[in-house]
């Protein structure tokens, strides 16, 4: 048999197969189970309510709050400036640009942390950076920011500073209460740094 015939007998069926099967558009997962477990263990995904309140009050342009609850719940109450991406629609194409980017700091929140964590895990598994979870969710947000409890009189100055900050932030964001003492308000926890994706280098080829 001629080499050309042999080649034809091999490549034509292969070509037919590849023409008939649907194109594979799935992306391979970018994180191993071990890597994800280590991120979950170190709780890197959490941002404290204090840090978020601080960013909202200062109108930090890098902040983007994402409400992952249903649209009904979002319309009833949402944090200032939050957008709504129900976790059921998370993989919809229209949200890819919002979730997969390296400019803003996306913070997912839900009532507790379960739904927000689900959204974070899925986006993390897709290899997206800069997505975080509001620690404690909206429930803790109300406890901590909107209705802060006055610490016992024996508490440390730090506790009082935290209380004052929460009180004033809560007030600025529509909660009740008046600031009673003016102490140093530097209590907003350090916020995570937005990571820029490494610039993709160009490869080149030729004859």
């Amino acid at each position: 048999m001629k080499p050309r015939t042999l080649l034809a007998l091999f490549v034509i069926p292969m070509g037919l197969i590849i023409a008939a099967v649907p194109q594979n558009t799935t992306k391979p997962y970018k994180l191993t189970a071990e890597e994800l477990l280590s991120e979950v263990n170190t709780r890197t995904q959490y941002v404290t309510p204090d840090a978020v309140a601080d960013m909202i009050v200062k109108k930090d342009p890098s902040l983007r709050l994402i409400d992952v609850r249903s649209q009904d719940e979002y319309e009833k109450y949402s944090l200032p400036g939050a957008i709504n991406i129900p976790v059921t629609d998370l993989l919809s194409d229209q949200y890819t640009d919002i979730l997969d980017q390296d400019v803003k700091m996306n913070i997912f929140y839900s009532n507790g942390t379960l739904t927000a964590n689900e959204a974070w895990m899925i986006t993390r598994q897709l290899g997206y950076n800069n997505n975080f979870v509001l620690e404690g969710g909206l429930n803790y947000w109300f406890d901590a920011i909107m209705n802060p409890q006055k610490p016992a009189s024996t508490s440390s100055d730090e506790e009082f500073a935290k209380y004052d900050f929460r009180k004033s932030a809560g007030q600025a964001l529509g909660g009740g209460g008046v600031v009673q003492s003016a102490q140093d308000q530097n209590t907003a926890s350090a916020k995570p740094v937005v990571k820029s994706a490494p610039k993709k280098k160009k490869a080149a080829g030729g004859c």
Partner: protein, 196 residues
Amino acid sequence: MGPLAINELISENTNLFLAFIIGIGFGFILEQSGFSSSRKLAGVFYGYDTVVLKVFFTAAITAMLGLLFFSLFGWIDMDLVYVNPTYLTSAIVGGMIMGAGFIIGGYCPGTSFCGASIGKIDALVFIGGLFIGVFIFGIGYDLWDGMYMAKFLGSPKVSETLGLTDGVFAFLLIIVALGMFWVAEWAEKKFPRAEY
């Protein structure tokens, strides 16, 4: 080694080292296939020897099928594969210059170094011409800058432009390639040359 280097799975130096190994392999295969002979290469244009056409097209459809099947099995992410950007005008003009040089000189850039490495004088002369061309291009860059960058189309794939899936286009290309092989072997019988 594009996807590996871009995603920093291997270092820049390892990448260069791998390029060196692959380059030596490429040159070795070219030489072993007889591509260090300008007469064999020029044969494509006169029809008496079409091995070059057959080897390169076989390599192309093999690589194409390999990539598509790897992508199908999820072994490679096609979004990370580098597609050469297209500048339409310079692609056409450059293709014509390259083709003319190919017929006149009997080498393409890669095979000329292959020929030079086994001591072919015509290959050395060809390389000299190659550097003169590079020099003229560099010196006169301002003159053809506009044309060089004209009609930038991004990195389109033929299958996308035609609105076909990659698989269907691959199948059509295989049919075309086999048809060309058939024409090529017919030409070899039609325009034989006893010695070259």
